[in-house]
């Protein structure tokens, strides 16, 4: 009898231990892969960023931070930094506001053909980044469709050389980005709005609140967490822009639209590869992502 009473709790404990162990085994493959494919290369990237020389004969540089010093004097790097931040500052706010407007319109109770509108606005997300870059490049080429249409409609007197103009090239990239990602962000907002109780809006309307007041005083405060998430994701994505810079403008004219990732790729693999310098520049992107996400989280918390 006594034996039996002692045995039971012990057996339960081992059972719980066994389940706990099973849990660890279940998450082991995913954890190992992320450490191996993400954290470990990050440490290595930092070490490489302190080295110089040919890819096959890397040596620690003297002084160690030499690659970091070089960045400040590198005109192309500074230009790529300016370009990337231009995209970030202009494109992200326009896109998020547009997404918010579309989402609030599509969330209206009496709107008809909701599904059709949503599908259309969401459709650009199904396009590969390379594909849409090439489509936009073709549409905006000098002898291309956009110029042909604008000239024949007498909006333009003569065709604009969009992709060969420093401002035009950036503008086309920004237009393309807004086209590709607005619907994506709209989906986040729409799904959060559906969880807001509709009676709040009805009460507000009875109190005389217009559409704008409803958007800024009800929807946006309630959506704050998700707006924060989309802002961080878009910032992160814009800092890593690559496919568009390569396929839409090829960084041109004269590096006026090149992004940081594009320049890092070129430094790593094109002409004379310089792994150390490329790794140092990529660490700067990592830093920007971390700092900007941190700031956005802080600002989001306060409001």
């Amino acid at each position: 009898m006594t034996n039996n009473a002692n045995a039971r709790p012990r057996r339960q404990l081992t059972l719980q231990k066994k389940q706990n162990l099973t849990g660890w085994i279940f998450l082991l493959p995913a954890t190992i892969l992320i450490i191996w494919m993400s954290f470990y290369p990050m440490v290595r990237a930092f070490i490489v960023s302190l080295q110089r020389g040919k890819p096959t004969a890397l040596q620690f540089s003297e002084p160690l931070w030499r690659n970091y010093e070089r960045m400040l004097q590198d005109k192309v790097f500074v230009q790529s930094l300016v370009n990337t931040f231009t995209y970030l500052i202009i494109q992200v706010p326009i896109m998020l506001v547009l997404a918010l407007i579309f989402a609030s319109l599509l969330n209206m109770k009496d709107l008809k053909f909701k599904g059709v509108f949503r599908t259309c606005i969401f459709l650009p997300c199904a396009t590969a980044l390379v594909s849409y870059s090439i489509i936009f490049r073709t549409m905006f080429s000098y002898d291309g469709m956009v110029n042909a249409v604008l000239v024949s409609m007498h909006i333009l007197k003569e065709p604009i050389n969009w992709l060969n103009d420093p401002i035009g090239a950036k503008a086309v990239i920004i237009i393309a980005l807004i086209w590709r990602w607005t619907g994506y962000n709209m989906v986040f907002y729409l799904s959060s709005m559906q969880s807001i109780d509709y009676s709040i809006y009805e009460a507000a309307r009875i109190d005389g609140a217009g559409a704008w007041t409803q958007l800024t005083k009800i929807t946006m405060p309630l959506l704050k967490p998700i707006i924060l998430v989309t802002a961080i994701m878009s910032t992160n994505g814009t800092l890593q822009l690559y496919d568009e810079s390569v396929n839409l403008t090829n960084g041109g004219p004269a590096n006026m639209s090149i992004t940081m990732s594009h320049y890092i790729y070129n430094t790593t693999f094109v002409t004379s590869p310089n792994f150390g310098y490329a790794a140092a520049m990529s660490f700067v992107i990592l830093l920007f992502v971390a700092v900007l996400s941190g700031i956005q989280m802080k600002v989001g918390d306060k409001r």
């Binding site: 099973t22 279940f26 290369p41 259309c120 606005i121 997300c125 590969a128 956009v146 990529s282």
Partner: protein, 273 residues
């Protein structure tokens, strides 16, 4: 102005705005598909209706580029990522949620940090590692970095929260072991989550460009987005051929989009619940 008139005006403006937005959203894709039927002159001139050059364009495309190889590679790579990624991430998401304790939550928090690591930031060491392991131009080389993603782990974890604990208890009493519970109970009930995860993984993998460009250097290993990108490299660009390539590259994801739009939206919105 009467109230009814103003209300009608308001609705008219809303519909007009949404119709214009929808047209702008659909137009570039529509135009690319139409252009696959046209020759360079018609494309640059902005023709919005299909003509009869589709077969010529596809024929020329086959002559210029290894479309069949690229399509096969993209398909194989994508299927491999789908199977491995869904398996690894769903087991992990399930493990984090069902057996969760303080330490596992901490591990999860650390793994989430990897979402902050931009892929370019690890480009150089990844290239060194993979060429060192002899994985250049190998499907496994393409697949390995995409298997375990914090995004999918989070998706499965947040959906596992809704999985009733009583089922697990009942299954344990019936003598099923933990792996059997996962395979026989969890997977069948979580079918919508798997569909959502599969949709978003398919889109991301099929469209990947930077990593394959780093690691798939040989002509035999080329993927669809790389092939399309290369079409723009020549001195004289045949836009009919380019648009045929764009169409072949985009069609799979667009078809999936139309059939699985609900899963796609759930995947995007579901991970941040």
């Amino acid at each position: 102005m009467s109230g009814a008139f103003r209300k009608n005006m308001k609705w008219a403006l809303i519909y007009l705005f949404l119709i214009i937005a929808s047209l702008i959203s659909v137009f570039p894709l529509y135009w690319a598909f139409v252009s696959a039927f046209n020759n360079t002159q018609q494309i640059l001139g902005g023709s919005m209706i299909p003509h009869g050059d589709l077969l010529t364009n596809i024929h020329n495309l086959m002559d210029q580029a290894a479309v069949l190889t690229a399509f096969k590679n993209s398909t194989v790579n994508t299927l491999l990522v789908l199977v491995l990624s869904l398996t690894v991430c769903s087991i992990a998401g399930y493990g984090f949620e069902i057996y969760h304790d303080k330490w596992k939550d901490r591990v999860m928090g650390i793994l989430m940090l990897s979402m902050m690591v931009p892929f370019v930031a690890i480009l150089v060491p990844m290239f060194q590692m993979f060429s060192g392991m002899g994985l250049m131009n190998k499907a496994m080389g393409f697949v390995l970095p995409s298997i375990s993603t914090p995004f999918l782990i989070m998706l499965f974890r947040s959906n596992a929260r809704a999985f009733p604990k009583e089922i697990i208890e009942a299954a344990r009493i019936d003598g099923l072991n933990e792996v059997q519970i996962f395979v026989r109970m969890f997977i069948p009930t979580m079918r919508p989550t798997y569909a959502a995860a599969a949709t978003i993984t398919f889109m991301n993998t099929w469209n990947a460009y930077l990593w394959p460009r780093v690691i798939m250097k040989s002509n035999e290993a080329i993927t669809m987005p790389m092939l399309v990108s290369n079409l723009m490299g020549g001195y004289v660009i045949d836009y009919g051929v380019v648009m045929a390539g764009v169409t072949i590259c985009t069609l799979p994801t667009v078809i999936i989009f139309f059939f699985l739009q609900k899963s796609f939206t759930e995947a995007i919105a579901g991970s941040v619940k």
